[in-house]
């Protein structure tokens, strides 16, 4: 690696790195540290008056039932989004990786929603699940004689959000799982075949364990997606409602920070989310290294 570094110059490398340094320092490091600092303050009058309050904002997060619900919502919502995105993604990948004609065609038509934005997906699902005009209720009425009020009921509203978030993100998992399936060592699969393993056993005892590094990578990426990129779904579809059932952390940060003007609390929530991301990243690096040895 170091063998590439043939040039030596006192200041040129620093000049080349300067733009990156400045941007990362000013727009990433500084705001991150500032978030930690703000989480210890109560901010009033649009940021003009700041009072040091120590850990009061964190105490608020720990004691106020509203925030207990936010944490619980975030955990349940993220778990559902991650599980269904990956399970459906894996299922479709196995299908699209069978030795059949038109594989490229199928693959392309399975992954394209990934290019759409969460806002577009959110707007479309808002229409599909509208109780009166929405097409979902038309079909439900026609076949089952029910017309649920999707966004008015807590459980159903979570369901719609999960469906929208999963629909948009399945394609990402399909891209990676297909790549993973195509890179599996053929000899191991052949050995399992000769040993008389059924297709079902072959998949769960051989293919799935061999895919575990990919599964883990996707677990991290999907969790990050569920934490951050799902904001537009909540904002467009439910605004956190009904009764706070869909108020997840990223939406709560936005609402506290920019609508309720509780900057300090919003910053404390951000710190909690940041800790989550750091833990995920550490996990990724730990297991990421091991995976190199797996692959041989």
């Amino acid at each position: 690696m170091e063998t590439h570094a043939v040039y030596k110059h006192r200041w040129l490398p620093w000049i080349l790195l300067l733009p990156t340094f400045v941007i990362l320092l000013v727009f990433l490091y500084y705001p991150t540290l500032e978030t930690f600092r703000l989480s210890l303050y109560r901010v009033a009058f649009l940021g003009l008056r700041k009072t040091f309050v120590g850990l009061a904002n964190y105490r608020e997060l720990l004691t106020n039932p509203t925030y207990h619900q936010v944490f619980l919502n975030t955990a349940v919502f993220s778990a559902l989004v991650v599980f269904f995105s990956m399970a459906i993604g894996l299922f479709l990948s196995v299908l699209a990786n069978q030795k059949i004609g038109g594989r490229r065609f199928y693959r392309l038509l399975l992954i394209w929603p990934y290019a759409l934005s969460p806002a577009v997906a959110g707007a479309i699902f808002l229409f599909l699940f509208n109780p009166q005009a929405g097409i979902v209720n038309y079909f439900l009425q026609a076949f089952f004689k029910v017309q649920p009020d999707w966004l008015g009921q807590p459980t159903l509203a979570v369901g719609v959000l999960v469906a929208a978030a999963v629909w948009k993100n399945v394609g990402y998992n399909v891209v990676f799982y297909i790549a993973g399936l195509q890179n599996l060592p053929g000899d191991v699969l052949e050995a399992a075949l000769i040993d008389g393993a059924t297709p079902w056993q072959r998949f769960w005892k051989v293919t799935f364990p061999l895919l575990s590094p990919m599964t883990f990578f996707l677990f991290v990426m999907n969790t990050i997606y569920a934490f951050f990129d799902t904001f537009p779904f909540v904002d467009l579809l439910t605004q956190g409602g009904p009764n706070g059932a869909t108020n997840i952390l990223i939406f709560s940060i936005y609402r506290d920070g920019f609508r309720f003007l509780k900057t300090g609390v919003a910053a404390a929530e951000s710190v909690v989310l940041f800790v989550g991301v750091v833990l995920l990243t550490i996990l990724q690096f730990r297991l990421g290294e091991r995976r190199v040895h797996y692959g041989g």
Partner: protein, 275 residues
């Protein structure tokens, strides 16, 4: 060696066709209803055919709801960030790979750590900072904070490391300095990465939502994704033809980029995973 079929071939095709249809259904329905008047949408049973308001709905979202303007704004910031970030990342990777200099390990770590700092996490502090700079309601607020990233730098770094060392050795023996080497050899050899990164960055910026929502108050500077929000929260919320027409307009550019450049897309993914 013949694999026993996991499933009969016809069943695989059937399942795949159903899946493909389910994946496409939301957008197909959205398009159909984007061509209908409110009366056509609310009739029972609904008609799954092109309605009579195709031109009207699209012209309303484009002109009356200013989606044309928002598209232009989105295009502007997406292109600016894509070009800017490519240049900034290229230069940083050039320093990291081809130069010997002190504290290199620290520089590397400094860049690496920013992978854990998505904009959304620090949105409150970033808002105060950018407002303090007097950049609220400006394109600068949507462009400058995104001009550098660990991802971009590491994509180029990885590409450079795969280029044989003999090339740079030869260049140096011929008396080419680092900048000349970068321009005449490195850049032409990195077009793959430039294209892959360009596609990913463009779509990433095009899809930005939360940051423009909080920092841009002047609607003439707003981006397309937030413009979509105005369709759903406006008084015309019940005119679903307008909402769906807006969604179709907003999804077209990213989708066109995706279908035209799907190879770069996949390659960008693959690179992003290796980093």
């Amino acid at each position: 060696m013949r694999y026993r079929k996991f499933l009969p071939r016809i069943l695989v095709h059937a399942l795949l066709l159903i899946s493909v249809a389910l994946v496409a259904a939301p957008v197909v329905f959205a398009f159909i209803f984007s061509t209908q008047t409110p009366a056509e949408i609310f009739r029972y049973p609904p008609q799954f055919t092109i309605g009579s308001a195709l031109r009207e709905n699209y012209s309303i979202v484009w002109n009356q709801y200013h989606l044309g303007l928002y598209m232009k704004n989105s295009l502007y910031i997406s292109v600016a960030v894509t070009i800017g970030k490519t240049i900034v990342s290229f230069l940083a990777a050039l320093a990291l790979v081809y130069f010997r200099f002190p504290l290199k390990g620290w520089v590397f770590t400094f860049i690496l750590l920013t992978l854990m700092m998505p904009t959304e996490i620090m949105i409150v502090a970033l808002f105060e900072l950018v407002t303090g700079l007097g950049w609220s309601n400006s394109y600068a607020a949507l462009i400058v904070p995104f001009l550098a990233s660990a991802t971009g730098t590491f994509l180029f770094r990885q590409q450079f490391q795969q280029i044989p060392v003999s090339l740079v050795d030869a260049a140096r023996i011929d008396g080419a300095g680092p900048l000349r080497f970068a321009w005449s050899i490195l850049l032409p050899m990195s077009f793959n990465v430039v294209a892959a990164m360009g596609v990913i960055q463009f779509v990433y910026m095009w899809n930005q939502y939360l940051w423009p929502l909080v920092i841009i108050r002047d609607s003439s500077k707003q981006v397309i994704q937030v413009g979509l929000r105005m369709l759903t929260s406006g008084q015309d919320a019940t005119n679903w033809g307008i909402v769906t027409a807006g969604a179709i307009v907003a999804l077209l550019p990213a989708l066109v980029v995706f279908f035209l450049l799907q190879e770069q897309f996949s390659r960008g993914f693959a690179l992003a995973e290796e980093k």
